[in-house]
Every structure is written in structure tokens, then in C-alpha cells.
Symmetry: C2
């Protein structure tokens, strides 16, 4: 359990509708001690504990096993759960590779869209999942009853659940998250230009305003997490970035010919689409 897993344990513990036992696996003895002290789990194991494998293989069929690993590690971990009787889900931010890795596992995928730049169990927040969106992607071999269980599990935690195909998920979040992560990183590389650098040397305070800062915020995210996302959704990220380049080409041409009315239409449309995408009122 990192930040997400510990938040999940904490939220479950405080959810009246949930009456099950909670067991957690953490990486370090320090984290195990912390979780025990906070009382968020009925049992805590460390990943290196020799008896852990036996404990997992002995779990009953009515267990829900939530893999809270980064997507790359999740893909490596899932095949070890093949043939076991209990239902498995995950919390990874790409879907197709997880679904492939889950072949032979009693599995329904989940992507709870929430998180934080902070890591580890001490960053846990009880309200992390509340009122946030969770995408549930049933695998080709998932049975309907299991899908329903996963939907109701996240709903119990106050999430809005939406079902989707893994491939649709990976395309949509290439636009809404993975591509923007790359573009945010690009903005940092590009903004750190020769002109800006030489001004920075003389500047009494940073030169960046709020707009730029907001746009490069996610360029500060965890490199391991990014790399995992690039590894497991690279084809879709590349595809959407090629689309972005095509739109950028057209826009650059606009500087030599677009009329004021055409620019204004483009700007007004951008605002309207932003409002639609973010669920803001039309006039915001």
C-alpha cells in the first residue's frame, strides 16, 4: 500500500456500508508500523515477508484483492494470481497492458481518477476517492457478477463509476492525461530557452506568471510513474501527439493569414470546449 492503497484502507475503515476485514501489504517495515499504529488494517504484511505468498494463495473466494502498484509493476505482478479463486482489481492509469497481464486471473480493471503528487502511506487521505470518477474496464473474460461487484465497491466509497472498453480508456486518457503530461514537460524544456535563461540570471524574482506555472505543474510528477505510462500506452500517446502536431501546424500557418474574426472564433471555441471538457458553466 502506497498513498492510494493506504487511502483506500482508511476510507473503507470509515465506510459504514463496508463490514469486511482489511489486510494490507506494504513495502517497508516502517510503513507497516505506521499502518498498524493508525489502525487502518486488520492485518499488515511487508512484501518481503516469506509467508506472504502462502497467505495470498489461501485467500477465500469472497476476497476482493486490490493491486495498488504502479502500472508497470502491476503488469508484472498479475500473472502470479492466475487460477486463484478470489476477484482481483487494480488502480492503474493505463488499461490494455493490465488487461493482457490479467489473462487467467479472475479480474475486472479499475482506474480511480484521483491521486496526489505525494507518495507513501503517510500521504493517505480518507476523502481521496469521494465524488471522483472511477473507470471500470471489464476484461473479455470478466463475468457480469464480478463487474457488478467492482462497480458497487467503488460506489460505496462515494465514487462516480463509468464502464468503458480498455482501448477506449487508453485513447481518452492519452488526450486527457498522458499527452498533457508530455506537453507539460515539453513546456518546461521549451520555456527554458536561451532568452529566458539569460533574463533569469538577472531577475530579482521568478519570471513566470500563474498561467505558465499551472501548465508546467504536472511536469513535476514522479518520473517512474510517467515512464510506466509511456511504456504501457506509448502507441496512443504518440498518436494523439501527432494529432496535436497537425493542429499546431495549422495554427502556425494562421499567423500569416487568419483574420481577427477567425482568431476570435478559434479563441471563443477553445473556451467553449474547455468548459465542456471540465464541466464548467458555459459562461465561466
Amino acid at each position: 500500500m502506497g498513498m492510494m492503497g493506504a487511502s483506500l484502507a482508511l476510507a473503507l475503515k470509515n465506510t459504514k456500508a463496508f463490514r469486511g476485514r482489511i489486510s494490507g501489504v506494504v513495502r517497508s517495515e516502517a510503513s507497516a508500523g505506521y499502518i498498524r499504529e493508525m489502525g487502518w488494517c486488520n492485518a499488515v504484511y511487508t512484501a518481503s515477508q516469506p509467508e506472504l505468498g502462502h497467505v495470498i494463495r489461501s485467500l477465500e473466494a469472497d476476497t476482493l484483492f486490490v493491486v495498488g502498484l504502479p502500472v508497470g509493476s502491476c503488469v508484472d505482478y498479475l500473472p502470479g494470481l492466475r487460477g486463484l479463486p478470489f476477484l482481483v482489481t487494480d488502480m492503474s492509469s493505463t488499461r490494455r497492458s493490465v488487461e493482457e497481464a490479467a489473462a487467467g486471473v479472475r479480474f475486472v480493471g479499475s482506474h480511480p481518477i484521483c491521486g496526489s503528487e505525494d507518495t507513501g502511506p503517510r500521504a493517505a487521505r480518507e476523502a481521496l476517492f469521494e465524488k471522483r470518477l472511477c473507470i471500470v474496464t471489464k476484461a473479455p473474460h470478466s463475468i457480469e457478477e464480478d463487474t457488478n461487484s467492482i462497480v458497487s465497491f467503488w460506489s460505496t466509497l462515494g465514487m462516480d463509476v463509468m464502464q468503458m472498453e480498455a482501448s477506449a480508456h487508453d485513447s481518452i486518457w492519452a488526450y486527457l492525461s498522458h499527452g498533457p503530461h508530455i506537453l507539460s514537460g515539453m513546456l518546461a524544456h521549451w520555456g527554458f530557452s536561451t532568452d529566458v535563461q539569460s533574463a533569469l540570471l538577472k531577475a530579482p524574482v521568478p519570471l513566470t506568471g500563474g498561467g505558465f506555472r499551472d501548465m508546467v505543474r504536472i511536469a513535476g510528477s514522479n518520473p517512474e510513474m510517467w515512464l510506466d505510462i509511456i511504456r504501457t500506452n506509448g502507441d496512443q500517446i504518440k498518436r494523439v501527439l501527432v494529432e496535436f502536431r497537425t493542429e499546431l501546424d495549422q495554427l502556425i500557418q494562421g499567423f500569416d493569414g487568419k483574420t481577427d474574426i477567425e482568431w476570435k472564433t478559434w479563441i471563443t471555441e477553445a473556451r467553449r470546449k474547455r468548459n465542456r471538457l471540465c464541466g464548467y458553466p458555459e459562461d465561466k
Copy 2:
């Protein structure tokens, strides 16, 4: 006086080191009434008042005249102040066109880097300028004494002041503000793709997470203001967007060959440059 001008009047009124008289010009009778009621100015005029021209032409040489118009209107307005004895500055976000328009005006340019998406005198904030950066660009014909006056004027309001050439300013803010505005608008257009739209129709809540929302925030800015910036700094915006496209091309090629270590270096460098640009500690 819009939001910026009214904030300036309010801040000056409450700055002990400032003991001058404050006169303001607003667009509407309603705004004039509001400013009078708040007591922020010693005199308020509306832009359509017939005697305004005479009042301005009669101002003494020790007056500081701050043009608080959007850059396009500022460029149109400045030539009318040619040959008058008082010192003029402005608050526009592009510099070269303003400097050209100020030929024959006793002028030193200012770009206080602060603002808000809200408009009009009712959005005024006393602390708007405090601890923010102000770029001062002296025109080729500015005299040193006037430049010093403008620097000390903004410093009195608690701003950090940096002097710069108009052309350097317009290049730097093409990277740090104008280009990012365009890219934010592009993200909204691009994110509103067919795939995303069809998911939106079925989604119980918006699909966008915090990263995307932050990156499209400035796509909601005032279209008139954007258009002015494109009109007056289009050549530099185009130049930096062409650079962005070149970097995007290289990055897209990376999806077919970059190793994990190369990606990690790229990601780590993006984070480091972000921290440098925004003045964050290295480890943030």
C-alpha cells in the same frame, strides 16, 4: 480604469509613501459612481465626458499618467499624448508596438505582471501589485530621470522591478505567457476529440483530472485580450511555436527509439527546468 487601474488607485491611496492626488478615467457612469463611492480617487471622469480632453491637456509636468487600456487600445491612444509635458507609462503585456506608438510622448513602458480573469473596477484588489514582478522598458527616447521615476513608482507599491529591452521582453513573454496561452487553447481544441466527446455523452461527471484542468485554465481568458496580444506580438509567438513544433517532432520520434534511460533523463530534466523557471526548490 478597469480592474488593473482601479487596483492601482486603491493601492496608491493606501500607500503611505504616496501623497499625490489620484484622478481616474472610467468607461461607464456606473463605474464612476462606484469609484466615487469607494473614495479611491480625488477625481473621476468618464471617457466620454467632453471636458476630458481639456483636462488631460492641462495636466502639469509633474503628473504621472498611467494608461490602463488593453494593449490594442493603448497603441491607439498613445499618439494623442504627443508633445504633452507629463510622464506617461502603461500596463500592457506586449512592448514593441506600445513603444512605437509612444514616439513623441514622454514615455517609459511598464508591464506589471499580475492580473486576474475578473474585469472591471469592482474586481479591484489592493494587494494586486504587491511582491509581483514589474518589467520596465525604457523607450529609445526615454530620459534616465523618467526611467528612475517609473522604477521607484512601482517599487513603492511593493513590486520587484526589472529593466529590459522591449524586444527581449516580447521574446521572453512569448515563451512564458503568450505561447502558453495559445497552447492552452490548443489543448482544449485537441482534447475535445471524437473519442473524448463520445465518452463525455455517457459520463456521469467530467472526465478531466486536475492536470488537464490546470493546463486549460488560461484557455478561458478574455478573447479581446488574446487577440490584442496576437496582433501586437504575433511574430514572436509564431517563432516560439515553431520552436515548440521542432521539439515536438523530436519527441514524437522518441516514441520509436528512446530508451527508458533517455526518457527518464528527459522527464527529470523537464522537472529540473520547471523548478528553475518557477523558482521552486530543486527537490520539489
